[in-house]
Symmetry: C2
Subunit: 261 residues, 2 copies
DNA sequence: TTAATCGGTTTATTATTTGAACCGATGTTG
DNA sequence: CAACATCGGTTCAAATAATAAACCGATTAA
């Protein structure tokens, strides 16, 4: 692992629960030497990726991230393009809907919408990395995404996030095959308890699946009729999102979806 | 300069005009060795800070930036908090208004609003770093910000962005003194031609100036009455923004502003 | 008063980054 | 079509930059 990765990994320690982290905490959680961490933090700070709370000396994510994110969104407006479709689908289903894209070994949430009407609602934020083996988005990606992805995923241990997380290679492969056959993935409490979700791939202009559209529902509320309805809605939205991004759904997937609907 | 900085600097080469950059272009513009740049790019990509256009092999800013920016904004919602004030001021003045924060040797735009009514309008985006010596935001920061800032700025050459950019230490110091005396900064086409602007500092809870509120106006439209009006509006908005962020305006600055109004 | 812990700094050692040369693919040109 | 240039990417010895133990001064706790 190179120095750059070591430094950037420090940024991943931040979360909504822990928006500020002190030097000693970094040292504890990473196990690295204090001086090393310190120099990494300083360099990240010098580039605006971190800033220091003058009062507590603790570090928080810096304004350079805002600038760069704004630039990406301005020149490659994924969020902006998918937002109306995600909003609309969320409104129709009254459930949490999100678009995520593949980023190496996990899915990265890009935009989500939760135009709720129910009391209980799922809360996933654009802040969390979604593991491939434990989420419906991830399984869809494994099923329809780039070739080496499955092998790469199995090369590392499959962490359990709940008692129901798939942690065996065999079961995961089975789930992926099932997903390939029916054209969408379904997971039940693989990542968060009491949440199950359905996902479908979205495709770019070269017919490559690069991300997913997913619906997350409290387990208590899920049933057969609802599932069928979500699948139906996902099919049209997923195609629409692919097209809105200048992509297109491959013919064989379209066939699959016609059967599923 | 450490490896981390070298890598992160690569991200700064992106702009709205150049959202995708190929390896060879990196090599040309940075002067670094190709292999070095390549490994840096690869490592940034592995962490989601870059992604590669599969067709052209060119690199663009990656989705991890979106995730981290969303997290920062969720836990430290600068944009969200200042937005209503910036929008309101922009609406009242019908000019471009923006909030920027100090990030080491430059100002980093956080949020801007341009609720125009005129034909000609200034277009500054949240994508550009604002140099301290050439912008009103920067001069305000030099005047009211942390102590070493002026020395640090003068330690490096003052680049000219237009023929009117201040490039001499003496003139800059004069401008900063004037700014300290009157409580706000005014620059005329220091960064962009045909654009002049006014800025005031905003303060945190410890009465430290950490950013600025600024108005940018086409030079053609600027006159004495307008300037007076902008100053008046800036004073109230600037106080309001400081307070909205949990900060407060130091007494001596408040006095200054009372005189200016 | 002592001890522990904090953020930050130093320096010799060590391991990583570096860059010239190389590769295969693709494209360009006389 | 053959010679040449340029592209993204790789290799490996040489050089540089990262590392970690010890140290510092300031706070805080006991």
């Amino acid at each position: 692992m190179g120095t750059i990765t070591k430094a950037l990994d420090l940024l991943n320690l931040f979360s909504c629960e822990q928006p500020e982290i002190a030097l000693s905490q970094f040292k504890k959680t990473t196990g690295q030497d204090k001086a090393t961490v310190y120099r990494h933090l300083s360099e990240l700070q010098a580039n605006g990726f971190l800033e220091q709370n003058p009062a507590t000396k603790a570090y928080r994510l810096g304004p350079a991230l805002l600038r760069l994110a704004a630039m990406r969104e301005q020149t490659y407006p994924l969020r902006k393009v998918v937002a109306p479709w995600v909003d609309e689908l969320s409104r129709r289903l009254s459930e949490l809907v999100h678009v995520s894209v593949l980023q190496n070994d996990h899915m990265c949430p890009i935009y989500h919408s939760n135009l709720h009407s129910h009391g209980t609602r799922v809360h996933i934020d654009e802040t969390e990395k979604l593991p491939l083996h434990a989420t419906s988005s991830g399984v869809s990606m494994l099923a329809f995404g780039p070739d080496g992805l499955m092998a790469q995923t199995l090369a590392r241990p499959l962490d359990a996030f709940t008692p129901k997380t798939i942690t065996s290679a065999g079961k995961l492969e089975g789930e992926v095959l099932r997903t390939r056959r029916r054209g969408y993935s379904y997971t039940d409490q693989g990542f968060e308890s009491e949440v199950c979700s359905l996902a479908m791939p979205i495709f770019d202009a070269e017919l490559r699946a690069f991300g997913t559209l997913a619906v997350a529902v409290p387990s208590s509320r899920m049933n057969r009729a609802m599932k069928e309805n979500i699948v139906k809605e996902l099919i049209s939205s997923s195609s629409a999102v692919s097209q809105a991004l200048g992509g297109a759904v491959p013919l064989e997937i379209e066939e699959l979806w016609k059967k599923a609907a």
